[in-house]
Symmetry: C2
Subunit: 281 residues, 2 copies
């Protein structure tokens, strides 16, 4: 039997119920694409995890340990997903963090998610969610384990032809999808929501901004309203597993995918699933 | 550390790491005072759990099952705490809730928390936390497992003579303590924060409002600013374990406990730790 999970480096699938990850969502996670047994966008994942751990004051394991365990878990996988969960570890009852936390690291392996192949080329259908994201600058940007808002939003549709739901914050600003970041193409510029009050700073969001800069494409983080998406030349979604999904339709509105920046999208796709073949940490 | 626990009715202390309670904080909890082997404020705890389960669309076990397991776990305890955790159960990767969730119920027993006895009579010292609570009406009031805000707030002080930290929301309205609800006494009236955008509707908060009504004391849920606490005749805190803690000081400001409604506080204290001697569910 292949190992499906490692808990603090030991094969296993059960955790003590006193872990603060379960009690309070007191932790962080990363969802990592794996190709040929190696993680992709490794440095970005580790840096976001470290940033989150600093924010929450959770001691972060070394990148070397995490890389070794990721490769061990993904051994022999042509394509799979490794989810990394880091919690503050076990503790007594009550919110007060233990003075010397012994964090729990969990790596889980999942099969590669299969989506209809035409979604990548012909674009996906998305809807607007009614769920609005609350603003909490102290937790914005990091990928923490308090994800009830995303669960509520994702529960709004069951239609398997709808690939993603888009969310605004409680002030009506567009933030992104339930599981993806969002880019708007308008007037030759690339725009993406500012994520200083809610949302997650995605690894492919950063890659896309980096590729845009490399191609001399003007890009900005800004406030966007739903009307800006209706008026846009095009919209696309990103995350570490899907890479780039062009938006084919949003509610009743259809987009002409020919108006998307093809070179940018090709470059992001070229780089998003390149395995890290050496331990770069 | 829990002495004892039941997971879906079976003694044990380990849970599958795929549980959505760990992955997303996708669940609810109750912290229940136990006296003479029986839970206190049982009906209030069950009703809040059921309200949360409806809000999150998690199937809720019957009160009869929960009561039976609570009493089984608390057997022989003169005074202890039972924490009840209800999650959406195991699921695959991704936010989408399983179409037919099989929820996980966990009951954990903890020792009764010992606080300095003078806190009850002479009042406690509290501080203002810098952490501000985000507004999220979809999750307000219920006792869900997304508690990073409380963890961050509770991490703001280590001084054991500080009993509680008080929190405002991001709009500057007073919400309560990290683990308690708050009442202000001013001009002969009892005031408590409205909790429609954040905060938890506490079982002893409801009991206090009920007792106030029974005593003919005027009470209101309202918006309060920090200045209202400085100007108040008195302030007290409530939760299911502490019952009522008068506020002796807040930051540099001291209160005269003689201006608190003594009959109300005595009545709440008389009722808060009365065990439910029969299965009332």
């Amino acid at each position: 039997m292949p190992i499906h999970a490692l808990i603090n480096g030991v094969a296993g699938d059960r955790l003590t119920i006193g872990d603060r990850g379960l009690m309070y969502g007191d932790g962080l996670f990363e969802t990592i694409a794996v190709r040929d047994g190696r993680p992709c966008l490794w440095r970005s994942h580790v840096e976001r995890l470290q940033a989150g751990a600093r924010r929450l004051a959770i001691p972060c394991p070394s990148p070397e340990i995490l890389y070794r365990e990721c490769v061990r878990l993904a051994s022999g996988c042509a394509a799979c997903v490794v989810k990394l969960v880091l919690t503050r570890g076990a503790g007594g009852r009550g919110y007060a963090p233990p003075p010397s936390p012994e964090p729990t690291r969990i790596l889980l392996r999942y099969p590669w998610p299969e989506h209809p192949p035409e979604w990548t080329q012909s674009g996906v259908a998305a809807i607007w969610c009614r769920t609005a994201l609350g603003e909490q600058p102290l937790l914005a940007g990091i990928k923490h384990l308090n994800r009830l808002e995303q669960v509520l939003a994702r529960a709004e549709w069951q239609d398997p032809t709808i690939a993603e739901g888009l969310l605004c914050d409680t002030r009506g600003r567009v933030i992104g999808g339930t599981m993806s970041n969002l880019f708007v193409v308008a007037g030759g510029r690339l725009l993406t929501p500012r994520l200083d009050a809610c949302g997650i700073l995605g690894t492919v969001r950063a890659l896309t901004l980096e590729c845009a800069a490399g191609l001399g494409l003007e890009a900005a983080e800004t406030d966007l309203a739903p009307g800006d998406l209706a008026a846009a030349d095009g919209v696309f979604l990103t995350n570490a597993l899907i890479g780039v999904w062009p938006l084919g339709s949003l509610g009743g509105h259809s987009y002409d995918l020919g108006r998307l920046p093809a070179r940018l999208i090709a470059e992001v796709r070229r780089r998003v699933h390149q395995p890290v073949c050496e331990e770069t940490a």
